[in-house]
Amino acid sequence: MKAVAGALAACVGVFAAFLLQQALPAIHVLHGARFVFVPMIFCYAAMALPFPGMLLAAFCTGLLSDLMYLNVAEGRVEIAVGCSIVFFVIYGCIANGFRLSFLRGHWWPVVPLSVICTSSFLLMQFAMISLRRDGFVYEQAILWRIFAPGLLAGLFAPLLHAVVSPFASLIPENPWSTREY
């Protein structure tokens, strides 16, 4: 029950993050980098939820992400539906390893995890479209667009914890409970 409730809350959060991202413009001073909140929210959920809940959250996040960014060029799909699911499952397994520490009140690993997850997600997208297109290109703006959203996610992660943690007690069988350990 707690896994399902927590995972559903995470999925709603991820969906809301997609809508928020849609509304926010690119940041010109950061070479067109964007706010990317979805991996940060997923990281937080992956640390807070039990393993089955994390898997459900990873599936929803990956599926929404793939459907949001699906691009068919000349009859070929650039990033197939399912690729992001695998990415978030792998990353979720890593983040879930910090769960015990998280349940003991050490929430700070969400900051480096959010930075790495956000940037590596963008890097994965860039690598996949580069392989599909005419090869890799290098521009300074590309580095900004990969790493700046990660750093921004790291800045926003403590804020996310401050906003979400008071609501933890509203979920039946609080996922922040350490009973199962």
Binding site: A26, G32, L67, A80, V81, I85
Partner: protein, 269 residues
């Protein structure tokens, strides 16, 4: 790790692999369904943005006048766009008359559409418009404004469509340069400068093309292609000679970041 967790992990990965081997059409159908689900949220967001943006205007003008103005502006844009297409047809007709040849040329039916969401991704240049297959929109239909080419439709859902912009690297257009016989393939850049309307690259020109800045670039309209001939794409900004060919950097005619109303070419009249 518990056996149940391992089983769940394998099930999720297997499902992901199954989804990844679906055909592009099936994936686009899924995306169309998702777009239909997402559309009310996008429309609400756009409506809220418009309400906030028009607060000041509402105090100065009557709502009816504003609605009339919008309608007339839309009609005016349709007429301007049609006129531009007809002018190109007239030019071509004159050329063909001189050459004592004749080629049938269609006149296009335009459908007005509104941009409901701009691209929010790092690597793709797309917008979403409020017309779908119920309105007669299909995949791979050109989208333009009275100023010039915007892009083409990709995924089409019931009442919404995704338009891949001409500034995207994957949107390739056969193009010709005004006043020359130069033709090439035009596409966007992988990373566009966010502060400007973007840049396009026109490749496969002859090395000695020597194009001048300001020369206009139009769609070439190859047979069975997506884009009809004669739609303005932009102006030449710079010409570069490369080892095997020439490349022109083109400034797009349409600044999509400022555009709210577009037209989909839904067929011939």
């Amino acid at each position: 790790m518990k056996k149940l967790n391992i089983a769940l992990l394998l099930a999720v990965v297997a499902l992901a692999v199954y989804l990844s081997v679906l055909s592009p059409g099936a994936m686009q159908s899924m995306q169309a369904g998702f777009l239909s689900f997402l559309a009310p949220f996008l429309r609400t967001g756009t409506a809220v943005q418009e309400q906030i943006g028009s607060m000041g205007k509402g105090l100065k003008t009557l709502d009816e006048v504003e609605a009339d103005n919008r309608k007339l502006t839309e009609v005016n844009r349709v007429l301007l766009t049609t006129n531009n297409l007809l002018r190109e047809i007239e030019n071509e007709n004159n050329r063909l008359r001189l050459a004592l040849e004749y080629r049938e040329r269609s006149v296009f039916r335009l459908m007005a559409a509104r941009v409901i969401a701009r691209d929010a991704s790092t690597w793709w240049n797309t917008v979403k418009i409020n017309r779908g297959f119920e309105d007669g929109v299909e995949t791979d239909q050109p989208v333009l404004t009275d100023v010039g080419l915007v892009g083409k439709t990709t995924t089409v859902s019931k009442n919404e469509s995704i338009v891949v912009l001409v500034t995207d690297e994957t949107c390739r257009v056969a193009a010709k340069v005004e006043g020359t016989r130069e033709q090439g393939i035009l596409s966007g850049m992988r990373v566009q400068d966010s502060g400007s309307g973007g840049e396009l690259q026109l490749n496969f020109l002859t090395k000695n093309a020597a194009l001048e800045p300001g020369q206009k670039v139009y769609t070439a309209g190859i047979s069975n292609g997506v884009f009809p001939s004669g739609i303005l794409i932009g102006k030449v900004k710079e010409f570069r000679t490369r080892p095997l060919d020439g490349q022109a950097i083109v400034e797009p005619a349409v600044d999509i970041s400022q555009t709210e109303d577009v037209f989909v070419v839904v067929g011939a009249k």
